[in-house]
Point group: C2
Chain length 392, copies 2
């Protein structure tokens, strides 16, 4: 009855865990939710009211597949203020970045095609590629993201259709790719014919250091696709994101999106556009940066205090996640089960490894908990870790 692609599919552990999260009083470092108490609710209410009074009929009607023109213009203007390499024809609005991935899979993946990813990589991307029956091939990564030497080696024996990367504050590791590797990636991509997919939902959430240029802007090549989203910077509930690519490729995106959902919800696009024009977007981003930085620091110092000395973790310069590597022999899934009994949760890192490794890793989200809960939640996880012996 079902299509072949459905056979191997299962609900993600994250999704099942998120269902558990409805337990009252649980402290959750699982999920990747922005802090809801920071949503600019008043400004969004103002934007919604203004949109309805000025553009009611258009904002509630069917609209063009590529997306609202003034919204597309604003995004292009932000990415390329001097119109050096981008115009309106280079962008399509998608129903969240997850839809961007769905459309990319539809456009570029035949059954059995190879996709290269970082190790670990974003779960939603892996799900999308799997749904289109791709073979996912994990390229080793370190604290600076994908290892370009390893990538070069693997390209000698494999011909991927896509290379999927999240260069800024990666989900799940929080790692960012430094400039030297970015140049190297552009160079490598120039010598091969895969599409390089650059997913950048967290780039704006930078706490320190300088924002690095996108691979897309460095390469300015038709083999690069850039994805951005307002889910982390305004609110996820609108499902408004975008894909930036070569004009001819965007035309194909539009045809495929037409058959997929006609267009992204019009009202959400109008509200995001109005909020960008007359809301407090820049202040709001600054508020997010400051608040999340405090939460990150709070989590780092709690981990220092409560986690066993054998555990290691990174200090991400932005984004929403800390990545912890426990001593070999720990099973983070088992730890999670014990943690849930103590009303605290995280995501076992194994979920993010296409090859099923990473048993002793965990992803900790710091954006969606107060400083007080971070201290208390990390204390509880630390207690479980200290009481559990690694099985070697």
């Amino acid at each position: 009855m079902y299509a072949e692609r459905i056979a191997g599919l299962r609900s993600s552990a994250i999704r099942d865990i998120l269902k558990l999260m409805s337990r009252p009083g649980i402290i959750s470092f699982a999920g990747g939710l922005p802090a809801p108490e920071l949503f600019p609710i008043k400004e969004i209410g103002d934007a919604a009211a203004k949109v309805l009074s000025r553009h009611g009929s258009s904002a509630l009607q069917y609209s063009i597949t590529e997306g609202l023109i003034p919204l597309r213009e604003k995004i292009i203007k932000k990415l390329d203020p001097d119109s050096k390499y981008l115009s309106l024809e280079n962008i399509i609005i998608t129903q969240g970045s997850q839809q961007g991935l769905d459309l990319i899979s539809k456009l570029f993946l035949d059954k059995g095609d190879t996709v290269f990813t970082e190790t670990p990589s974003y779960l939603g991307a892996l799900q999308s590629f799997q749904l289109f029956q791709a073979n996912i091939f994990a390229i080793p990564s370190d604290e600076k993201g994908i290892q370009t030497e390893e990538l070069g080696k693997k390209l000698k024996t494999h011909r991927p259709g896509l290379l999927y990367l999240m260069p800024n504050f990666q989900n799940p590791t929080g790692a960012s790719i430094p400039m030297d590797r970015r140049y190297r990636l552009v160079e490598i991509a120039g010598k091969h014919d895969f599409m390089l997919i650059e997913d950048d939902p967290y780039g704006e959430l930078i706490f320190e250091g300088e924002k690095l240029p996108s691979l897309f802007s460095l390469a300015q090549s038709k083999n690069f696709i850039y994805m951005s989203s307002f889910s982390k910077t305004i609110a996820p509930g609108f499902r408004v994101a975008c894909v930036i690519a070569d004009k001819e490729i965007i035309k194909k995106f539009a045809i495929v999106k037409q058959g997929t959902d006609l267009h992204t919800n019009t009202f959400g696009q109008y509200i995001v556009n109005e909020y960008l024009e007359n809301g407090n977007y820049h202040e709001h981003i600054n508020l997010l940066r400051e608040t999340y930085k405090v939460r990150r620091d709070c989590m780092l110092s709690a981990m220092e205090k409560y986690f066993p000395k054998s555990a290691k973790w990174n200090k991400p310069a932005g984004g929403m996640f800390i990545w912890a590597i426990l001593q070999e022999g720990y099973d983070a899934r088992e730890i999670l089960m014990r943690c849930i009994e103590k009303n605290v949760a995280f995501v076992p890192g194994q979920e993010f490894f296409p090859d099923g490794s990473g048993k002793n890793t965990m992803r900790l989200n710091f954006s969606n908990a107060t400083a007080e809960n971070i201290e208390e939640g990390i204390r509880r996880i630390g207690e479980v870790l200290v009481k559990t012996s690694p099985q070697i």
Copy 2:
């Protein structure tokens, strides 16, 4: 570079025509847009404000893939007031019905699978099935929808994975399937193992006669899937629709939708839910029925007045479309080109025939034009028809 499924894709003529529609002053019977002047803008504004003040954090946050629980409950309650055969586990909210079709294709179609459709059939469905490389097989239809005898015959030699139908006020023909054929369809489906997909976006827009029971409610079988939408009854801009199916199938829908776009936009779901609860939904539906009925009648009498005697058309009992069959030898695409010069448009019917026939047919939308424009637009089309000789 592109996947195999992209090779045959082209932008739909409707889409290209809709782009032409931006010409100022054009009278358009193309598209399938609801009347924007009837959108309940004030009530939607009230609903949006209330949602933000009462549920701001949840309404802007990520939400569960299956959709907002109170909204799902309301839809179930409406379809099955005594909870005889439906519960919360039988429904998933989709990003418009077009996404319902995308998810159905993902779930049930392997490359080369056969899909049976009416002739003509909804273009968006054809596009979705084509994107998943199905073989579309057109079953003859008449003014009462699909011909069940023909269906029975074709089932002797073909094994379709899906049978796709729009039993109420079909797009493009406006035809509805009468009770005897509905019973016959349920009977036929019971003897085969295809999934019967019942798409019902227009069922509420009934002008006269009684609303007939859905195939889904008649069959109550796990081989039936029912789709409904708020695009025509509230507003398309929210992209809020739903799929109703067997519980186990809905679980699969949720896994696939998770990889497709995570979930339908939260804010739109909250607003639709609030509007259903405290808005003027029932009055609004009555207003739509009355207004569209007047427009249908106006179009019918104008056609009587201005169309050549050789043309035939139906009198739909609801929905948004009149279907006209011109004398053999007319090419509706050519007629359209001449009509556009006179600032009036419709959709050539050939678009809706999977087998490319129907050259002499046209779809006329009456929901999105005033009585005055309908009279004038039909007059202009009639003038073109009378002046054009059919090429035999």
